[in-house]
């Protein structure tokens, strides 16, 4: 009898306690950017044709990056196959920058990347450009990377993610601005060195990221979420 009466009360109070203990900040459930906000297809250049001057420079750049490959560089390339804020920013923010310690940051940047996908997706499909390793036998790409990189190469999603993290994280942690940008852009360089993206994919990824972020910054719901993530990160890194 007692048990029956107590059970729901206990359950409710536990629920309440757990909610109070960790104020779970829910991100906006609406996209930060709408397809009609920015005309990505009108703004981004068509990718260079492989046999054009710019196309040949693109391929040569990949071959140059693949020269003198070391085990360390290959390890970094493999690490950067994964696409999330922790992989991009931990080399700058430190090993404590993990999903466990900064859960909201991961959700937020995943949402930024997903929502910015309305910019990249249609362009990838519009041109359906082959990956460097699909086009040229001279390009060497590790099997596991080739296996998961079958979609069109232009623009580079990895470079877009790297630039999104660089731009936004620099606004949250301006103390590390220079290193964050170097890392965000360098993340895309590793993608090129893996043979899965051209410099023109890299550049267009940066353009896409800039367009998407510029637009998102005008969205009040985005600003609210941005401030919550910024607070999580600065508190967790003991920055005032």
């Amino acid at each position: 009898m007692r048990k029956l009466a107590l059970a729901p009360i206990l359950f409710l109070s536990l629920l309440f306690l757990s909610l109070a203990a960790s104020p779970v900040l829910a991100l906006s459930d609406k996209p930060y950017i709408a397809a009609t906000d920015v005309d990505f297809p009108a703004l981004l250049p068509p990718p260079p044709k492989e046999d054009s001057g710019a196309g040949k420079r693109d391929l040569q750049a990949i071959l140059d990056l693949q020269k003198n490959m070391t085990p360390e560089r290959m390890a970094n390339i493999q690490r950067d196959l994964e696409q999330n804020v922790y992989v991009v920013a931990a080399p700058v923010l430190g090993p404590k920058f993990t999903k466990e310690n900064f859960p909201l940051a991961g959700e937020f940047f995943a949402k930024v990347t997903k929502d910015a996908g309305i910019g990249i997706g249609p362009i990838k499909q519009k041109y359906k450009k082959l990956r460097p390793f699909q086009y040229s036998k001279d390009v060497k790409t590790p099997e596991n990377i080739a296996k998961v990189s079958g979609g069109p190469t232009y623009p580079s999603g990895h470079s877009t993610t790297g630039a999104e993290v660089a731009i936004l994280m620099s606004m949250m942690v301006p103390e590390k601005r220079e290193a964050l940008y170097a890392r965000g852009w360098g993340y895309g360089v590793n993608r090129m060195a893996s043979g899965a993206a051209y410099p023109s994919d890299w550049e267009s990824g940066h353009i896409t990221a800039s367009l998407a972020v510029n637009q998102m910054l005008k969205n009040p719901e985005f600003r609210t979420d941005f401030e919550a993530v910024k607070a999580e990160i600065r508190k967790g890194l003991s920055l005032n």
Binding site: V38, D39, A42, L43, L44, P45, P46, P48, S52, G53, A54, A166, I167, S170, M171, P174, R177, E178, Y181, A182, G184, W185, E203, H206, I207, S210, L211, V213, N214, Q215
Partner: protein
């Protein structure tokens, strides 16, 4: 007597060119594009990235054919006529005065963010940073600061700003980062491609090649050029959200398509 002669001539001129009456407010609100925070900082003078940037310039200079170098020299002109190679000889200032006026206004309205980013980073030109870089022809002199032409540094240099402290308020040559020519080339390509989608590919190739000309010329680093393109795209995206811009763009587009004998 002579004066009287001018009046009908003037009227004729006005009649012959139904001048576009462009908006008298800026297409881009002041501060709308925060070029200081939204572009990456350029590599520091002593960084490995700077070394890669210099290598990029040297390689471009060494591998360019004499014809390509000639084009780089021609591309030093910031002039939409540089796109006549794609649109044909009918694309001239006299044939499309409204289009020319529209592009002049776009250039004017986007100048502030470009200058502010340059003043923020104060990056020296490749040929200043490394004496292995040799601009062909007059390209070096063309980047010289004309005395009195440069206004005071327009960027914020307070502690809250990422900008470097002002070290050379009146440098011999204008700053390198980001590339204004690349901004112009990319912006012009995007706008013209949206007026003449039939030539979209060629226009973008020309506009992006315009940026490459600056690297071949040894007057810009690859990172200057990339940031110039990012800046251009971001500013056009913002202008496209401005009603006055869209009205003027549509009028310029109509004039251009008519002059080129294309359907409306």
């Amino acid at each position: 007597m002579r004066k009287c002669f001018f009046v009908p001539a003037l009227l004729l001129l006005l009649g012959a060119t139904p001048a576009l009456s462009l908006s008298d407010t800026s297409y881009l609100a002041p501060g709308a594009f925060d070029s200081v925070h939204l572009l990456p900082p350029p590599p520091r003078a002593t960084s490995p990235q700077q070394g890669q940037d210099i290598d990029g310039v040297l390689r471009a200079q060494q591998t360019a054919s004499p014809e390509r170098i000639k084009r780089a020299e021609e591309d030093a002109k910031v002039d939409i006529a540089q796109f006549a190679a794609v649109l044909g000889t009918k694309f001239s200032f006299t044939a499309v005065p409204g289009v020319a006026a529209f592009f002049r206004k776009v250039a004017r309205d986007t100048r502030e963010p470009v200058n502010m980013a340059k003043d923020c980073w104060e990056r020296p030109r490749p040929f200043v940073a490394d004496d292995r870089v040799h601009p062909p022809g007059a390209m070096r002199e063309e980047t010289a600061n004309r005395p009195g032409a440069t206004p005071a540094n327009s960027a914020p240099h307070d502690r809250a700003s990422p900008c470097l402290p002002v070290e050379s308020p009146s440098p011999e040559f204008s700053y390198s980062y980001p590339s204004g020519h690349s901004t112009f080339g990319a912006m012009t390509a995007i706008l013209l491609a949206n007026m003449v989608p039939e030539k979209r590919n060629e226009l973008f190739v020309r506009g992006w090649d315009y940026g490459q000309s600056r690297i071949i010329g040894g007057v810009h680093f690859p990172t200057d050029v990339e940031s110039g393109r990012i800046e251009a795209t971001a500013m056009v995206a913002l202008m496209m959200q401005n009603t006055d811009f869209r009205t003027d763009f549509a009028a310029a587009k109509a004039e251009l398509r008519k002059a080129l004998g294309l359907s409306e």
